[in-house]
């Protein structure tokens, strides 16, 4: 009887960890970061080793699991440029060029540490499978593996707080395990409409020693869009959604 009670006790202690489904946890992290369909503004700041900065402001819209588009609204040299992702398809539109061109997820449209995958990010659960889930004190550590070769980072290590289930740190790695960049999520804020998430994402990369990038997030809110918004033909007109 005593042994049985000890077993029950052990089981009760073990159940919470064992019951955590990594995929479900990743979905919760995704939902806590953004609604399924939303609009948001982001400021990207590239900081050079000597302290010089270059800033970009983007308006981003996303719908469902595989549609996302971003429009540069500042600075003047980038204004009107837009990027679109429809599943694995990505395009880049430059007003001067006058037509969208196909791009890949690893290309950078702004220079510095950011690449297209950072700007046109889908849900993590959409692009990655959870290979392993660990508990580290007050945080979970999710080991993610890209579902396809089209994803910018083959492996990701994602730390999320147990309480809020929001990411605190993400490491992006190559297939061979080489670190490409690290994202630090900071300054959790209430955006309204039930959206409480980090407003600041700080990025550094061993590939760009002493360079740093900051993403500031603002005005994130749930919003639905017509599917036709996420088409190559509509790209020059994204400004009309603001």
């Amino acid at each position: 009887m005593r042994a049985f009670l000890i077993f029950l006790g052990l089981l009760a202690w073990a159940v919470p960890a064992a019951a955590i489904d990594g995929t479900e946890l990743l979905r919760q992290v995704d939902r806590n970061l953004n609604p399924v369909s939303y609009e948001s503004y982001r400021k990207l700041i590239n900081i050079e080793p000597d302290g010089r900065k270059k800033e970009f402001t983007l308006f981003t819209v996303k719908k469902g699991r595989d549609k996302v588009a971003s429009l540069f609204i500042a600075p003047a040299s980038e204004k009107g440029r837009s990027t679109l992702r429809l599943g694995d398809n990505m395009w880049f539109y430059i007003p001067n060029v006058g037509k969208p061109i196909r791009i890949t997820s690893l290309q950078s449209v702004v220079g510095g540490v950011f690449n297209n995958a950072d700007i046109l990010q889908l849900d993590y659960a959409e692009e990655y499978t959870v290979e392993k889930l660990e508990e580290q004190g007050s945080e979970y550590l999710l080991h993610l593996k890209a579902k396809t070769k089209t994803v910018a980072y083959d492996r990701i290590r994602l730390w999320a707080g147990k309480e809020k289930k929001l990411p605190t740190k993400i490491e992006c790695l190559t297939e061979a395990g080489m670190l490409i960049k690290t994202l630090y999520f900071k300054d959790v804020k209430d955006f309204g409409g039930g959206i409480i998430r980090p407003a600041v994402i700080e990025t550094d990369s061993p590939l760009y020693k002493d360079y740093k990038s900051i993403i500031l997030v603002a005005k994130t809110k749930a919003r639905d869009f017509k599917d036709e918004v996420f088409t190559l033909t509509f790209m020059p007109n994204l400004e009309s959604l603001r």
Binding site: Y41, E48, K79, I101, L106, Q107, G112, K219, T233
Partner: protein, 427 residues
């Protein structure tokens, strides 16, 4: 300043602190937009005094061995948006101080009114560009655009006065997007007179499909100002870092004006095909390769080009001996009817290699571009370096080397070498 956004304080050591703010007013949309750029572009050319085109354009002047020229441009664009209605205008003012003249000219590149009652439907009227085609250096299917310069494929172009519409439909399944763009393009002595024959209402159109993750366009032009033509293009990512694209255009009853080496002119009429195949490849080290092969069925053969240059050399010799430039004037007139177009030959290769931020030095992009006429083996090579590290400033330094045997396309250009600086300020 009312900062309602987000503030991040970064401490780097004890003595340095910096604050980053997101001023929400930056995200507020104004009903109007004004912007553009100011550009300064000095060019220094080293002339080839034995080249046919030097003899054609410089026969009665001596500019020395080097030729400095100065270009400046002010491009302005503005728009007003109210509900579903948008009015847009883009003007381009060019200042040119060249060996020929000093000119100052303003052109309305675009000026249109569009009504978009829903994201899937728009109608518009006015002057606009379409930029049809998937090719980077050439676009054989750009039936309603002016030809672009393969050395500057990203530049804005002047449009034509049109009425057009746009209908978009999204689907789930292999066909994800269908869009239809019909275009009406009138030509008269007052409107679009440089498009083609006057007093015609031309009809053009494009049907776009995103089918099995491939962009596909079907395009046509008909109506009388130009002979009827149709074509298709495609673009697809084969792997995450390899994109392939192509264009095919069929032009009915294409008229080609030719000149023989003895100066006799003739015209042929035939159906011709122009096509292009290309790829864009990105390596793991951020090197981008753009490679294209262009078959210009409407172009001149190697022999036809040799005949044209032979005639110019003979006309120049005649001018030197007689002082009579009538044959050179004839050559200039023929040049304007086809031979003088950029890349007027039959067969070309294009290769551009650019390295983003080499040695992790951000914002610097060196590149080299080669255009080869595969028939006469002449070519141009253009190394360049650009810098975009200062907000709203773009700097580019490029040199162009042209080489080829006598009577070849690039061997007979008026200059052997040119170096150019471009400084552009966006506002």
């Amino acid at each position: 300043m009312a900062v309602a956004g987000i503030t991040l304080v970064l401490f780097s050591g004890v003595l340095h602190a910096e604050e980053y703010t997101f001023d929400i007013s930056e995200t507020e949309k104004k009903p109007y937009h004004l912007g553009g750029y100011l550009e300064f572009r000095p060019i220094l050319s080293v002339l080839d005094k034995d080249a046919a085109l030097y003899e054609l354009w410089f026969y009665n002047r001596d500019e020395g061995q080097t030729l400095p020229e100065y270009y400046a441009a002010l491009q302005l664009e503005g728009s007003v948006e109210k509900g579903p209605v948008k009015i847009f205008a883009r003007t381009n003012t060019q200042y040119q101080d060249t060996y020929l003249d000093t000119t100052f000219k303003t052109t309305v590149f675009e000026g249109w009114l569009a009504v978009r009652p829903a994201p899937f439907l728009a109608v518009d009227a006015g002057k606009r560009t379409f930029k049809w085609g998937k090719g980077y250096a050439w676009n054989p299917v750009a039936f309603v655009d002016r030809p672009k310069n393969p050395n500057e494929p990203d530049l804005n172009l002047e449009g034509f006065v049109v009425a057009s519409a746009e209908y978009i439909k999204s689907f789930s399944g292999p066909l994800k997007t269908l869009s239809v763009t019909p275009v009406l393009l009138p030509v008269s002595e007052q409107v679009n007179d440089d498009f083609g024959a006057s007093d015609h209402l031309n009809v053009a159109g494009k049907i776009y499909l995103l089918l099995y993750d491939t962009d596909i366009d079907f395009l046509f032009l008909s109506g009388g100002s130009k002979t009827s033509r149709y074509g298709l293009d495609f673009s697809r990512n084969i792997t995450t870092n390899l994109e392939v694209h192509g264009e095919y255009a069929r032009i009915n009853d294409f008229r080609q004006n030719m000149i023989a080496s003895d100066g006799n002119t003739s015209q042929t009429v035939s159906d011709v095909s122009n096509w292009l195949l290309g790829l864009r490849y990105l390596t793991g080290k951020d090197t981008t390769y753009i490679f294209e092969y262009y078959r210009n069925g409407a172009g001149f053969t190697e022999q036809q080009t040799r005949d044209y240059f032979t005639f110019i050399h003979d006309a120049y010799d005649y001018y030197l001996s007689s002082g009579d430039d009538a044959f050179l004037q004839k050559a200039a007139a023929v040049s304007a009817r086809g031979y003088g177009a950029p890349n007027a030959g039959r067969s070309y290769l294009y290769l551009r290699v650019s390295q983003k931020e080499p040695f992790d030095i951000v914002y610097w992009t060196p590149a080299v571009t080669a255009i080869v006429n595969t028939e006469d083996k002449s070519f141009s090579i253009t190394p360049e370096i650009s810098y975009t590290g200062i907000t709203n400033i773009e700097l580019r330094l490029r040199a162009m080397v042209l080489a080829g045997s006598r009577l070849s396309e690039f061997g007979e250009k008026q200059n052997d070498f040119r170096v150019e600086l471009m400084a552009r300020y966006y506002f």
